[in-house]
């Protein structure tokens, strides 16, 4: 079961080389996607293409595309079989799956592009065909008619600019199922153009309509209709989702980091893409090293409780009863692990603070060693350094303190020496203070801050009980899974606010002293 993506807008024709590169790119993505993503019922995969600045392939291939695009589905029916141990069958199935999906995706884009081109050229065809075919019989075009030419030209230009603005965008993600609203718009455009052509063919071409002004007005009406469809596209695709209707709570399953967001009316898959965009710059980076309690705290959980059964026949009853007794006994036993946890935490915090103090001092001192060369000063050219050399010069004095600090806060996988040097060079170039330099290391930043190729995952799985093209409703819960963690998203409707008015006369604010009041009774 595969579907295609669609529509729509107006796009340039793609070159053959571009599409083949895209083809290759997409096939690779598919292979990885089907291998990772297919598990369980109703789980579909979203792919987020990489950042435009770094990911050359996707920008060059897709820049002329709109945000329609690649929608594919993972074959869910066979998903339970795919967990088989036989790699060969799995790879073979992947090969089978990827090829038809690629073709369908390209087909979708091609259909959209031709539809767009057709609808753009149709008014021009309407205008050009009568003079070409029956020029002698045609009435000459008066002033009103020529004025309409100008109107057609400008409206077509506006249509072109509008669709460039709206549709020529690099797609943010490849959605698992068809984007329903876009498909509807494509169908609408298709019906519109076909009906206009039918009318034109029967009433104008066949009948050899003599009044050219009528033909021109007909063409103008088509351009108007296309502009209104464009307006509809703006409203459906862009504006409808802006007004907040739902509040989403997004919680990361491993460490409980959570955020709340407001969204408007969207389908579940589009909301998923939106949340992923927010995730990368709102959530602190996922650090697996920070998750577990230290082993020393958890080690003593073994219960030395033994349970003996005296003369019982029913064995199954026995085992559950036994385990329950063991658990209950373990719970009742006085357990001091919370104490150890508390002291361990306090000790760790003290250590972190000490290392942090050393780091701050080291960096401050290091920064005092260099200063910017002023224009007036004359210095020996051998002494003048560019930012990179300046960074290398002062890095040595702070390197040890930095390394110790990163190790204590378990951040060292995220910062290589090269990245620290680059950051230092960056800060020196822009006259930043030591505190600004350290901001990056003292607190765990959002994922997008770190070295992109390492930490930006493109592959997410959307797990949902409802079909993902359904709109959001109150109470929907779905998951966005990665291999190590998942984001649990729950929806709540924004309440309806009853606002009432109360008028306060500015002169009614009066006060008395509370000292000695006298009341008559």
């Amino acid at each position: 079961m595969d579907t295609e993506s669609q529509y729509s807008g107006y796009s340039y024709k793609s070159g053959h080389s571009r599409s083949s590169r895209k083809h290759r790119d997409r096939r690779d993505r598919h292979r990885s996607k089907s291998r990772d993503g297919s598990r369980g019922d109703k789980s579909v995969t979203i792919q987020a293409p990489g950042e435009p600045l770094l990911d050359n392939e996707s920008t060059r291939g897709d820049e002329r595309d709109d945000n329609w695009g690649e929608t594919t589905t993972v074959v869910t029916g066979t998903s339970e079989h795919s967990i088989s141990h036989d790699d060969l069958t799995r790879i073979a199935k992947d090969m089978e799956d990827s090829v038809p999906l690629d073709c369908s995706r390209h087909l979708g884009v091609a259909v959209g592009a031709t539809l767009a081109l057709l609808s753009f050229l149709t008014p021009l065809a309407f205008l050009l065909l009568p003079p070409l075919l029956w020029r002698e019989e045609l009435e000459p075009c008066g002033t009103a008619c020529e004025g309409l030419f100008i109107s057609v030209a400008f409206k077509l230009l506006i249509l072109l600019l509008g669709s460039w603005a709206l549709f020529f965008r690099r797609p943010k993600a490849s959605l698992p199922r068809v984007f329903v609203l876009r498909a509807l718009l494509m169908v609408l455009v298709f019906l519109l153009v076909v009906s206009y052509w039918l009318f034109y063919g029967v009433r104008i071409l066949d009948a050899r309509e003599r009044s050219y002004q009528g033909v021109v007005q007909f063409a103008v009406s088509l351009v108007d209709a296309l502009l209104f469809v464009h307006y509809l596209a703006v409203v459906l695709l862009e504006l409808r989702q802006l007004q907040p209707q739902f509040t989403l709570k997004v919680v990361r399953s491993t460490d409980g980091a959570s955020r709340f967001y407001n969204v408007g009316h969207l389908s579940i898959q589009r909301v998923a893409v939106w949340i992923l965009e927010k995730y990368y710059h709102d959530f602190p980076v996922y650090n697996p090293a920070l998750l577990n309690l230290p082993k020393s705290v958890l080690a003593k959980k073994v219960s030395g409780f033994k349970v003996y059964s005296l003369g019982e026949e029913n064995s199954t009853n026995n085992s559950t009863g036994q385990s329950r007794a063991v658990i209950a006994a373990a719970a009742r036993r006085r357990d001091n692990s919370h104490n150890e946890y508390y002291y361990e935490e306090a000790e760790h915090e003290r250590r972190v603070r000490k290392r942090r103090a050393r780091l701050v001092v080291a960096v401050e001192e290091a920064f005092t060693h260099i200063k910017r060369l002023q224009e007036e000063e004359q210095k020996n050219p051998r002494e003048v350094m560019d930012p990179r050399e300046a960074a290398q010069a002062i890095f040595a004095s702070m390197a040890r303190a930095m390394q110790k600090y990163l190790r204590t806060t378990k951040q060292q996988p995220y910062h290589t020496m090269e990245s620290i040097l680059q950051h230092l060079e960056f800060c020196i170039t822009h006259d930043m203070t030591p505190k600004a330099f350290l901001e990056r290391y003292l607190a765990a930043g959002p994922t997008i801050q770190y070295h992109k190729e390492r930490w930006l995952a493109k592959q997410w799985t959307l797990v949902s009980e409802e079909p993902v093209t359904n709109g959001l409703k109150d109470g929907i819960v779905f998951l966005l899974k990665r291999q190590d963690f998942s984001l649990v998203v729950s929806t709540k409707k924004v309440p309806f606010f009853k606002l009432s008015e109360e008028f306060v006369d500015p002169k009614s604010h009066k006060f008395v002293m509370r000292l000695q009041s006298e009341t008559s009774v």
Partner: protein, 122 residues
């Protein structure tokens, strides 16, 4: 009844019959004091930290005057309710209950001479 320490005269029982004036039942006197008020401004109290309720004014011919309430009296109880540790507003409420037509007050007062001295000095 024996006089309280600090007071020269024994506590008096005063029974006031409220007078109906239009919609309200009035007693015909004014009170000052309360635990939310500043006790140092009270001209009638002997102990300037005393936060009790004092009668600050008695209107002429009113029910309070008829019943024998005097200016400077400290109201200890109203119909059994204690008035020595109440806020000003609570005191007012206890005196002006619409359901009660008669209020029985327990008051203490200093001797007349001391009261005059106090009010002349303040």
């Amino acid at each position: 009844p024996t006089p309280l320490p600090g007071q020269d005269v024994a506590p008096q029982r005063v029974e006031i019959h409220k007078l109906r004036q239009g919609e309200n039942l009035i007693l015909g006197f004014s009170i000052g004091g309360g635990i939310d008020q500043d006790p140092s401004q009270n001209p009638f109290s002997e102990d300037k930290t005393d936060k009790g309720i004092y009668v600050t004014r008695v209107s002429e011919g009113g029910p309070a005057e008829i019943a024998g309430l005097q200016i400077g009296d400290k109201i200890m109880q109203v119909n059994g309710w204690d008035m020595t540790m109440v806020t000003h507003d609570q005191a007012r409420k206890r005196l002006t209950k619409r359901s009660e037509e008669v209020v029985r007050l327990l008051v203490t007062r200093q001797s007349l001479q001391k009261a005059v001295q106090q009010s002349m000095l303040s």
